[in-house]
Symmetry: C2
Subunit: 349 residues, 2 copies
Amino acid sequence: MMLRPSTFRRLVDLQDGRVEMAHGGGGRAMAQLIEELFVANFDNDLLRQGNDQACFPIASGRLAMTTDSFVISPLFFPGGDIGALAVNGTVNDLAMAGAEPLYLTAGFILEEGFPLRDLKRIVQSMARAAKAAGTAIVTGDTKVVERGKGDGVFINTAGLGRVPAGIDIAADRARPGDAVLVSGSIGDHGIAVLSQREGLRFESPVESDSAPLCGLVADMLAVAPDVRVLRDPTRGGLGATLNEIALRSAVGIELREEAIPVSPGVRAACDLLGLDPLYIANEGKLIAICPPETAAALLAAMRAHPLGREAAVIGAARADPHRFVEMETAYGGKRLVDWLAGEQLPRIC
Amino acid sequence: MMLRPSTFRRLVDLQDGRVEMAHGGGGRAMAQLIEELFVANFDNDLLRQGNDQACFPIASGRLAMTTDSFVISPLFFPGGDIGALAVNGTVNDLAMAGAEPLYLTAGFILEEGFPLRDLKRIVQSMARAAKAAGTAIVTGDTKVVERGKGDGVFINTAGLGRVPAGIDIAADRARPGDAVLVSGSIGDHGIAVLSQREGLRFESPVESDSAPLCGLVADMLAVAPDVRVLRDPTRGGLGATLNEIALRSAVGIELREEAIPVSPGVRAACDLLGLDPLYIANEGKLIAICPPETAAALLAAMRAHPLGREAAVIGAARADPHRFVEMETAYGGKRLVDWLAGEQLPRIC
């Protein structure tokens, strides 16, 4: 460290200190926070160069770029925290284009008074998540707002990824007859966060499914490069995400309720709280839509990956000028899976 | 618009409506806000595709990637607003690597109750700024937090740019003997925001200098491809930024106070308020450091550009194991230009 430690030491106390306005002021306190917290934990050559941007060579090809802000409350929850979520969420948005993550950026909006010890936990969690996804946080930004003008920590991540040659995945590519698959049980993230927020205890505890999907997607594309649509059903859950795909692709989608995996804990919580798992957020699941002849191979590849063990074919796209998402219920009836008009659970990611 | 207007209409009223939690919920209200506000104004093919990421082909070479969050208060100020600032700030972080901006991302954190009319003004301002800088906002994200958990609007932008071949600019490249230049008068942004915030009126009104510096930088690199360091002195101003360069490059820097351009309005405001223009934020100025033999050509190129008309050589780097920034004052004395320990003006960007 080159930062004259004797005079710097007292400006950032990662054990007992709190976020102060000076930590966002562009002076010595901010420089020390960046060095001792962010650079020390994210630890990579590009970040260590200390420029206001990261520069790197790139080979020609197709890139994917994405961004997400994270305002989840509470910041820590069963199965994850805002830090891991902020990395996985952006990695997954890249993966949904078939892209392998290259680099991430991180922008922090901190509320004055937030414990630096908690911020350190979050940053360490981000560093672990980035490593697990095979990527790195190469540049960032820190802002501080006065007490009562924020809510602890908000994090934005942006990501850059590389799309392998020959892959063309987009929300408008579903065609009538295509198979609709999901990579595992739905609703875990939303129920985990809700139960933490409301202090609920269930017999089967539910953990967030927050996870990086880039490895699963790579395995899927290896056997099924003709996958047409990939989407991670986050806010709005499976229901909202399928409606968006139906809208963009100008198709209807027919689901079979019995085929949709829901864990016993999520089912019990939803029954108790009057929630519909179809609209509960997921942070480690994906929807895949592929030509019918590819579905069996794709399903097998998904089930062979730790994050796709419970993968299932849950329905099919069909011609429908109304672009409705419909579901054959467990009782043999049919129900419209509409858009949510509003939101079921606020600040879930 | 494909979004069934009859049922959608009432969910977003851009004239008299306010931000509601549902606008961040992942359902129909959010989809409508994105279509009618963001896609309609940012208006480009990549965004219109409606995927959770933008995909584009790229030629091999060096890229720059950066991010900044903007939490400025007030949101509107003389000479700009948070929207223009969010675009220019990230464009400038790319330009400080010599990079031409390619694509931007935008992440919004909105406070419940914020007037949609004001959000529309901000979004339109971002769209204009992006166009002026020759770039586009190609993907984004919207989150909503409850009243009292945010402060109107926070914006994160991330940017991707292309570094021309042969350009190598970084904060650690200054060498003893190098010339230090600034592109114009300092302190305008900070004083403009402060006066708006505090309701101050000055005889010479001060406007923010918020502007995209990519065009100026391109002209500079055309005559002086050997520029070693570029930095925009935002938070912490010229003083903090030069200290950071001195630290990274392991040099001292000697300034001449008389050579540093300060507008009469900024000087008067600083005298009145007891502020030092050296530490006031700028949003449309840059510091350039180059070999001494290049300085004259570089200065001429800067002065030939509308954003560099008041450019000046303000000092030089020198060997100094202490890495001090010192200034010869107008009275012939010498003073240490130290780091700010804290911050002079909170939430200036």
